[in-house]
Symmetry: C2
Subunit: 303 residues, 2 copies
């Protein structure tokens, strides 16, 4: 089945201990769409400015992402400038220019309003709600958010969560959202707000997935070199949701496989700047790293 | 086979968000020995003061730990006072009174000098070296350390590592020891110093075990309630090394099982203050949580 991604498309200027890039293609919707495209057809709804050229569209088209929902507005594309120090777990934001993104009012193409899997990437929860109303045919709704909205629009966010099936959130954010320091209890609180499946992203420490009485924990893939962590969470979301869109969500087994595929995509994402690694990624490489995750985590029963 | 543990026995005064204890039995050697005793015979070498009563010895004796190497010296037992805030990953030390521990010169009983598995828990690396010379019959040498020795005695520590088979260390410490921020590269540096097996403890994020070309990653067990993290690393070491002592170290499979058993013991350790949870722990509970670790981490191959 198809997946509809609504989020940001941006130009990122990023420096890390491994180097830097200037105005590289970025944004949550970009990284998520590129990642998801390895698994299922992807429809992208986002906004860019007049400086977004055909060359910028090319990687998305190369990955066969349907960008009919990518609107060009008068003005400049969203820009973000950030830097990572030795602690690659958190970026320091140096500059944010919302530009056309400040007036983003997503208008989902009529033909897409029955897309079975809807992913509300990290944008204003009021806009996420608005998109949710439009995509009334969605069978499965997933959402991401960030500290900025948890602080600024907690009520809009909580209202949204009442309609969300799968929440993707990082560990610091779920603690902030719930006021609970203990992750297990924080997840219980979020479950009470609506989402049946809660995916807690922990950066270099991996991911925890809570679904009903099932808990799945997966470490991150240990890499000797991380060039740029930007978009790791979005690449995870793309692999996770793309896998669910492709293979369905019949139970625990599907969620676990999706979480491993999300982690595979995140582990490749950080190997290079922007979407560079995913643009040259192959299906055999995805299968290879999936197998290496099995090797990384396997152990025998107690005899 | 037996395991010989050399380390500290202390009275801990600890406060956490879940409560507090005053002068409870603590110390690296205590927690490690109690934990290891579920798997193999344990011999303890440590020092206490005249205030260490028969009642304090009882839990060790109840767990059948051989305390013939526990020396009583004139003066008071080592005392540590610490507090944990909402971040249960790190304690704030409020007071340290070394007392008799300041003059600890371990003298391993003659009959114990061929103990096959020697664990040098976290003490002065010069003393660890000294014990290593005494236990010349050891087939397998494991060691732990801490930031205090990495800063204060880096050369003594590096000399020791040349004779250590298994190093247990936490993620912050291995970065400090090697000056490498990337864990995989930090492990490569440590491997160059001597240890063939490197266990990186990551607190609530679990554990990474590097052995030859094999890497094993295990998340920590998600607990809804953590009362007191004190001794989690020592309980891990006890389960890990106790399991190796009991079942041998023939390869990757043994190391992985040992790391899961170490994590099982650490997960129980933090459920109550001091050694309280381990003192009432049963073998079926150990097996049960091992099975729950399998359930937590399992996923299917890609079809």
């Amino acid at each position: 089945m198809s997946i509809l991604v609504v989020g940001s498309v941006a130009f990122d200027t990023v420096s890390t201990p491994a180097g830097s890039v200037t105005e590289a293609l970025g944004g949550s919707a970009t990284h998520c769409s590129v990642s998801a495209s390895f698994f299922s057809p992807v429809r992208l709804v986002a906004i860019v400015g007049e400086d977004f050229t055909q060359a910028h569209r090319k990687p998305l088209l190369d990955r066969k992402v349907d960008i009919s929902g990518l609107v060009t507005a008068p003005g400049r594309t969203f820009r973000w400038t950030g830097a990572y120090g030795d602690d690659l777990n958190s970026a320091r934001t140096l500059d944010t220019q919302l530009n056309v993104f400040a007036d983003f009012r997503p208008d989902v193409p009529q033909a897409w309003r029955d897309t079975p899997l809807l992913f509300l990437a990290n944008i204003d929860p009021d806009l996420q709600w608005d998109v949710l109303q439009q995509v009334h045919g969605a069978k499965l709704v997933a959402a991401d958010t960030m500290n900025y909205w948890i602080e600024g629009k907690p009520d809009a966010l909580k209202k949204l969560l009442g309609r969300v099936d799968i929440l993707l959130i990082n560990d610091g954010e779920i603690r902030q959202l719930t006021g609970e320091k203990n992750l297990v209890r924080a997840v219980d609180v979020v479950r009470g707000l609506g989402p049946k499946t809660i995916v807690v992203k922990r950066g270099e420490h991996g991911v925890l997935v809570f679904e009903g009485h099932n808990t799945f924990a997966l470490p991150a893939f240990p890499l000797a070199s991380v060039k740029d962590p930007t978009g790791a969470g979005d690449a995870f979301a793309g692999g996770f949701l793309g896998s669910l869109a492709a293979r369905g969500l019949d139970g625990d087994r599907d969620v676990r496989r999706a979480a491993v595929l999300g982690s595979v995509m995140a582990s490749y994402q950080v190997e290079d700047f922007s979407h560079d690694r995913l643009m040259r990624l192959t299906d055999p490489e995805i299968r290879d790293r999936y197998a290496r995750f099995q090797e990384l985590t396997r152990f025998s029963p107690l005899s």
